[in-house]
Symmetry: C2
Subunit: 678 residues, 2 copies
């Protein structure tokens, strides 16, 4: 019981801290008249998108909730209270709320970061990072409170998994929809503005520029927040499910195992909050010093977590192996993060080599970027592989789940360093549009460059945790579905593995094509405005920013439906047609190819982005040369890779695993189609 | 016994037919003086490459053979006769011989096709296709004879698998080495010639032009021949192994099952030879008519095979289910072929859409090509998945193996339609260099365009057969390794699956980077010659073609070593470190991601190639526009995708499976490292 109180207290503390930090952000100077106008436009655009997105999702959520109530609560579990449906709804509402709060602070922090940058680097870092902290700590606070409350009320694994399912479905749509919005607006406005009209990026004359800024907020802040909210709760749920799952099969369930993840998460929140206080920089700090400012916070939180975890295990007299399992996850996370940084930062050889290939044109940039992305799968794979083996030897699949919890426990601060990036990026855009002193733009650019590095690390983190969590969920699913063995020599399992391996490819293709289509509609609108609005190019008339935001919104929402529904339908179809074992095979097939593809896309995208920046620093001819043009082409390809398709894959993997877990009791009641035929 | 005689007779007939056809090809007019000089240069370059390649491979082959003798024959099987080592050597020699013969006819057919094209389209088609037929029929003839003779002598599955291992290792190096050579020469000479110097493709002033022609022969003819030789014998071996494999485990082995694959292969050879007689075209045939001329031969062979297979099953009084299993493979092959054609031909929407994206630059061409490649995995996956389920329900894994045999049984003619393409391509190059009448080039271009379509179909075929054969080999391996279940809930199996899923990514990265490095050395040499040889650009001095051939040769041979050794080492390392079950997981993980990646790369490459051609036909502005430039960039990226990395993956999958099968008895004797540690 004490542990429940600890979890609730930590969750509450998180929300309190988030509220105080948010007030500090909002109290900052919002800048001059022109900046406030721009800031308002971004804020309104982002709010409109989020409102419409949630409106589109509402019917989907209701249909799924009714389905869960009928199929699981009523028919399978024969419950009068629609517990699973309630948990599902709670998951969707919590996820949407976390995204809403985080984004609302972020859109207000943009303009305030730009204003603070007029005073110096450190004030700007403080505002931007504080805004990121609000997002990070809100996500972990709401996540932990949600899981804990549901645990207190229902104490049933399928029900709690319903919460994860709710979080997953919002995450999927938010990531996919937000990802499509942001990249369509970015690519679409750049293609016409930079390439055709020859005006700089973020130029106020470009009709797509506000849509581009809105996109940073709805994709990289709200979308990523929902994504990691889901990772976070799923990792906890997976660990709890493995403690619980024995219950149905007649084994005694283990209360200690069930509450340890909650305790660890609570400790992680405290560690993360303390860590945020370590993030400080002096004026005129170098890139390394700024990076170290953020890293110091992350490392401090990690060290605190290790201490807390050891204390928890010792005080509660738990098995010491569980502590070590947590550590394996933390180490895997660090290794994956460092590996991602190595492959995507222009301080190291891989990205420099990609930059070098720009001398021979866009094609060689593509080939080298993709090859770098492919090679970069090796270290994360080995890190995850070794973690699985060690954690399993320590505490079986529960150990693997604990490793996932360990990896994500300090999410409060890692997410903060990640979510601060788009705020700094946007502040730069506002500085450009408000025609502030170039010095301001230099400061925001410094913060933005830092954000690219932390974002790459964060992506590696998200992918690693997705793999561990999916596997833990797979283990929980197989217990729930009463599977004795998922035998690879069973032909249905083989077909499941192949089918699962195909899904990430299909899903990526859908999301990439969606970005292309949505970007084309922005291109046409921007072209139309340049053509039809007199005085636009001369800067005497303002473009119609709202129309571009509208078009991007409609495009993104239309395009997110098919891949979203597919992700929910694929595991159900496999389970009902080929049976539970085949579904197990499908899940691991999807993790296998999806993990690789996600890393490949994230790394290739990051390497291209930074290779372009490296060329812009003056290497291989610098800006304006053919080499630079080739490098820019690489960056454009990398955009949907790293910000839409790649991150969406994480959610696909976890969502399919959690759908399988939630529906496991239903599969048990139904004879798969193939057995009826043969 | 009668069946053995049938197989031997069919194999002998194949070689006889090949010899007669080869004589007909060599009897054709070799053209004028200039053409013969060029033809000789290509022939010498190709012969030199093959000689050096085999010289580099010899030590590798000897080391492996000694290893097999010591580890398997002596230590595990306790045989005094080094049976496995002998079978392995036989496999390498047979594969090398088939590649040597096929390529030697092809390099002589190039110039003769060009000469025949001076007389008309049909004579040129006859010469080029006859040369392809020699390759196709030689491959199946030698393959079938080799397997049959080894079966007669040793009657042991591990030993016969050694033959497949030999064929695989040659195939891997030939495919990778040849693929690197051909694309390095192609990309390297185009980058300097077309892009920098502004001279047309195949211009005799380009020092890399002969190397490019040599590459077509050593990569697309010799490499592909070795690849499909290996597919062909592996499919037969997999089926025989599943009939045999019971032996060790105490089950009675089934002679009928063991000889049916040989009979089917024999029937397929007869069907293929008869089919080649159907390939005729009239003068001034349209593209559709030419395509139909080739298709008629393929369809005739397929129908004949169905009749023969039914007769064999009925006369030998075998289970009728086996007949149906063969048919499922044939149907899967046709569906995969049609799907590949749909996604890569510019007569259909997908490639047209890729072409359309060239309007917005190289980046959008990349994105749309990759997305198309990813989507194109769906139909082949479903075809293979349904085939596995149906074939398994018919006759368990033996049925799956028979489906693989069915898919490849008419290889004699499908390979002929495939191998004829590079001959026609080269004939066009010779026509250009010898400055023949433009009409001649038009004719060879028509044949070449046809070759691109049949090559795409052939690639789909090769990938589908690789998947089915790998799975059948996996099944055979698991019986040999006495595996009861490869349980996906075993953490070592999970790690195996993930590790396996990573390997195709790593392997593709290696081969792509290798092409890049080798191409750069060609670029430097071509640049040097343009700079240093006076009168070269004016056409008064000949360039030093040999030096470019030499550099490409050295580059390719150097670069093929690491990926080649990796493919052999990975399954051994997994087996010895994590154990036989984990290795089973690794194999299926590799099939899962490798199958998808191979299809994606083949389709994307084909779609880019044909999108460029579509633009060149005058769409979206046609030649010389920015759209055309963007489409060309796509094609350059597609080159290593479709001709080096993609096809190499097929061999990787089969090679790893066959290494596992061969070493299964050794794994049984050794405790895996992980069990010693934990």
């Amino acid at each position: 019981m004490e542990s429940i109180i600890v979890a609730l207290a930590a969750g509450g503390a998180a929300l309190l801290f988030a509220a105080i930090t948010a007030m500090r952000v909002l109290g900052a100077d919002p800048g001059n008249e022109r900046m406030r106008v721009i800031g308002d436009a971004i804020r309104n655009g982002a709010a409109t998108f989020l409102k419409r997105e949630y409106t589109v999702l509402a019917p989907f959520v209701i249909v799924v909730a009714v389905g869960l109530w009928a199929l699981i609560d009523l028919w399978t579990l024969e419950n009068t209270v629609p517990e699973t449906a309630i948990a599902y709804l709670a998951g969707t509402i919590c996820s949407a709320t976390a995204g809403f709060i985080g984004m609302n602070v972020a859109v207000r922090a943009n303009v305030r970061t730009a204003a603070s940058a007029m005073r110096g680097l450190n004030p700007a870092l403080r505002v931007a990072f504080s805004s990121g902290s609000v997002m990070g700590v809100t996500v972990v606070g709401i996540g932990l409170l949600g899981v804990t409350v549901l645990y207190i009320i229902f104490q049933d694994v399928t029900v709690i998994a319903g919460f994860g399912f709710g979080a997953s479905s919002i995450a999927l749509f938010a990531r996919v929809g937000g990802g499509i919005f942001t990249k369509a607006a970015d690519v679409g406005s750049d293609l016409v503005g930079k390439v055709e009209a020859g005006i700089p990026e973020d130029d106020p004359r470009n009709p797509g520029v506000i849509a581009d800024n809105v996109g940073d907020n709805v994709g990289d802040v709200a979308g990523m927040g929902a994504d990691l909210f889901e990772s976070y709760v799923s990792s906890i749920i997976a660990a709890m499910a493995l403690a619980f799952a024995g219950a149905g099969a007649g084994l005694a369930w283990d209360a200690e195992k069930a509450v340890l993840p909650l305790m660890l998460a609570g400790a992680g929140i405290v560690a993360a909050i303390l860590g945020t206080f370590m993030v400080q920089s002096k004026e005129d700090a170098s890139f390394e010093q700024l990076l170290w400012a953020l890293r110091r916070g992350i490392f401090a939180a990690a060290i605190l977590l290790i201490i807390f975890a050891l204390v928890i295990v010792l005080v509660m007299d738990l098995e010491i192996e569980w502590f070590w399992a947590v550590i394996t996850g933390l180490i895997a996370g660090i290794i994956i993060g460092l590996s991602t940084e190595y492959y995507t930062s222009y301080s190291y050889k891989p990205t420099q080599q990609v930059a070098e290939t720009s001398l021979t044109g866009a094609a060689t940039v593509m080939i080298s970027g993709i090859a770098t992305g492919m090679i970069s799968t090796v270290i994360p794979l080995l890190a995850v592989g070794i973690t699985i083996i060690v954690a399993y030897e320590l505490a079986e699949f529960y150990g693997v789940a604990l490793a996932g919890v360990g990896l994500l426990s300090t999410l409060g601060i890692t997410l903060a360093t990640d979510a601060y990036g788009p705020v700094a990026d946007n502040a730069g855009g506002i500085a450009e549009q408000a025609q502030l002193d170039p010095e301001v733009r230099e400061r925001t650019d410094a913060l933005d460059a830092l954000g690219n590095t932390t974002a790459a690390t964060g992506k590696g983190f998200a992918i690693g945790s997705a793999a561990l969590t999916s596997l833990a969920l797979l283990a929980a699913y197989s217990i729930e579905a009463e599977i004795v063995a998922v035998d690879l020599l069973d032909h249905k399992v083989i077909v499941g593995v192949l089918f699962g391996a195909m899904l990430p490819f299909l899903f990526s293709a859908f999301t990439m094509k969606a970005v292309g289509r949505a970007a084309m509609s922005i291109v046409n609108e921007v072209r139309r405005q340049f053509r039809e609005i007199p005085g636009l190019m001369e800067g005497t008339t303002d473009p119609d920013y709202t129309e571009c935001v509208d078009i991007a919104t409609k495009g993104a929402l239309r395009e997110m439906i098919v891949p979203g529904v597919m992700a929910v339908a694929a595991p159900l179809a496999t389970g009902f047609v080929l049976g539970v074992e085949s579904l197990g095979g499908m899940l691991i097939g999807a993790v296998g190819s999806g993990f690789m593809l996600a890393i490949m896309m994230a790394t290739a995208g990051g390497a291209w982005d930074n290779a372009k920046k490296y060329v812009e620093l003056g290497h291989y001819g610098g800006k304006g040369t053919d080499a630079h043009k080739a490098a820019v082409e690489g960056d454009v390809v990398g955009d949907p890779f790293k910000d839409t398709s790649g991150p969406s894959l994480n959610i696909l993997l976890k969502l399919m695993a959690i759908v399988s877990l939630v529906f496991a009791p239903v599969f048990l009641e139904v004879t798969p189609l193939i057995e009826k035929i043969t």
